[in-house]
Symmetry: D3
Amino acid sequence: MNELTHFDAEGASRMVDVAAKPVTQRVATASGSVQMQPQTLAMIRGGTSAKGDVLEVARLAAIMAAKQTSGLIPLCHQVPLDAVEVSFAFPDDLHVAITATARATARTGVEMEALVAVSVAGLTIYDMCKAVDRAMVVERVQLEAKSGGRSGNFRREP
Amino acid sequence: MNELTHFDAEGASRMVDVAAKPVTQRVATASGSVQMQPQTLAMIRGGTSAKGDVLEVARLAAIMAAKQTSGLIPLCHQVPLDAVEVSFAFPDDLHVAITATARATARTGVEMEALVAVSVAGLTIYDMCKAVDRAMVVERVQLEAKSGGRSGNFRREP
Amino acid sequence: MNELTHFDAEGASRMVDVAAKPVTQRVATASGSVQMQPQTLAMIRGGTSAKGDVLEVARLAAIMAAKQTSGLIPLCHQVPLDAVEVSFAFPDDLHVAITATARATARTGVEMEALVAVSVAGLTIYDMCKAVDRAMVVERVQLEAKSGGRSGNFRREP
Amino acid sequence: MNELTHFDAEGASRMVDVAAKPVTQRVATASGSVQMQPQTLAMIRGGTSAKGDVLEVARLAAIMAAKQTSGLIPLCHQVPLDAVEVSFAFPDDLHVAITATARATARTGVEMEALVAVSVAGLTIYDMCKAVDRAMVVERVQLEAKSGGRSGNFRREP
Amino acid sequence: MNELTHFDAEGASRMVDVAAKPVTQRVATASGSVQMQPQTLAMIRGGTSAKGDVLEVARLAAIMAAKQTSGLIPLCHQVPLDAVEVSFAFPDDLHVAITATARATARTGVEMEALVAVSVAGLTIYDMCKAVDRAMVVERVQLEAKSGGRSGNFRREP
Amino acid sequence: MNELTHFDAEGASRMVDVAAKPVTQRVATASGSVQMQPQTLAMIRGGTSAKGDVLEVARLAAIMAAKQTSGLIPLCHQVPLDAVEVSFAFPDDLHVAITATARATARTGVEMEALVAVSVAGLTIYDMCKAVDRAMVVERVQLEAKSGGRSGNFRREP
């Protein structure tokens, strides 16, 4: 019980066998945020196609990274995704909030795909703005909810 | 002033021209942590080759991800790295602290490589342990220091 | 109507959700050509294993590129392909004509896989011959036909 | 003379040895266009961040693809790029014109990187708009100019 | 009969069409070994988390490489794997024996995935130890068994 | 002494720092072979462009794989290659012998690139011919020679 399933009885890492699991609809949502100076946030919020849209670059980076998840996380299965959506919000004048949802029809969940999308969105915002604010922080990358699969649903408590 | 250099005057994204910059020694260090249940941390700390070593998997994932940085962050240059090192510490019974240092002899910095390494180390710890603790959080991924290059050195203030 | 489905109502890019679409047999055929000097075409046509076979290199590049489509086209789904075939013809003494067909059993079409295969075949021919003919042109890369899927069949009109 | 340098004397393909070539500043510019229905072009031109910006997606895809060139074109060298820029123009009401410039400080040229960028920009425009105009054509992908390197400069004649 | 199915009637390479094949459980096991000096083997066997565990690095490299098989072997299909396991043994004081098993629910077999895993495990052992034993040899990489699929089962004869 | 340089004093894996090493010309040659049935070898030797050329496919796969080495071998540096050449010979009626040479102007050697090329050439031959000879064996993948770099030259003794 409480075992780390990515290791076998001898502690050898492995890609867990999912062949016996049913193919079901999987959804996972992750969140995170980037903390920055108010002036940096103002620059990002001012983004229009005429001035350059930081968040659209971050969104595309996030979607493309979600598709690379199994090449980044060593023991992740390759899961062809049905959908990836990434959205941004401005909860205050210091943060860009990031939410990503991944979906698949698969034998295994897509939590890592959603978390990779949020992380890469945050890192891309950092990259785009680091010339003006090198101290930005990617904060609280976490799973919000997931459904589908034998381990049941999960919803983060507020 | 305060311009986002990844956009041109019309707001079009671009990979910034670094041809005129000198080749210098570049070093960047990033940090972050993973918050988890005390029992999860105890399982990780108990890691030995006999039981499975979560942190060694995370370390390798981080090093391999650093090499993929230009494929993840859209406007990053391809920088062949001279070195990548990743270390872990246990500041309390709820967190694994992650530090990554990247080095290159290049025309551009390696901040993103260090930040990608920390992020992927954190996400891999999440993946390895999510069966026992789905609420873990990757926290405060940030640049600690960088040197080399025209924009000068940076050291995060405590 | 006439909407660009890769954007949501606010204009944010997204990977369209295909979870509700049925898995069906998908086939797409694309074409294109490379225009060149007659002497260049003669060199290619003379290709034998003893002299070096430009078209076989281009064919393999095309097949391998088709498998990388979701890493190249930002909002493409990852579609494991059932088959890829690439063929060449010589309609006149100035052109190599390229045709590629991709097949999959999937929730979404494989037009982009066929178009990527044709494009990379053309670019590889360019690369192999550019030392002798730098002015070659990759021409008219286009979808010829596709079948399978809710949007119905397509066949280019002559 | 007029040899295809990517083959050896027996016709075996090879990555040509560039060790003896000097490291110089390399620049290459390629162009191409996408032909479409006037209504499709109108939709693209209307692109703003509120409605979704097809060309910004295509631009990022092009930049990221340029970095993948050596993974697409079998005998291309791996060239870390100093810069990539991609621009679009509307010469008439049926075409989006694409121009891409790649730069590197290297032993070999970056023509293929510029051509890959143009091709993937064109294919991404196709992908984004194919739901409304499946007959679009990626046209005349070609080298416009290159400089640097022993083979001398090239500029396409009008 | 005795045909090489990866070529068509004209000798053109192709990714064989598997659309008509049934989806079945596929398993393949491959083996190989690395021959080395007895002192090198002693160093590897002494591997603990305190000294560095060569075989755990090799195991992870093997699992990650199995997922990249279709990007390495030109005409391989993209097969999302259900499981990959890699194990090591010490049959004598000169060899590390490697065994890898890959599983998938697919229209085509996973022999290549198992063989890639074994090869990359062997090459990674070489890389980790080459500073002390440059003459190591990766030996006898071969299929041990496969099941699932129309071509029937295979078990290597002793 | 006899240390495994890919681990630090605590046994943590790392990408060794090569920043202080001089940039020099690096060359490495590796070899290996594929053992098969005489009829399989006869089919391969009969390869012409009309019947399908197994060895040309294997050669291209090898060259492309050499460029992916740092994505396969966890602690390998990213080394842009100056040249890759792959050749085949038939020492008897049971074996295809494979030789690969990689070159770079770099701070670190290219042994792994040459070994990856040989391995992937062998595995591709296996893949192309496995429908007729599933028992083929990739044999004796080993370094033949290397030069350049502080650790001196190496030449395998006969």
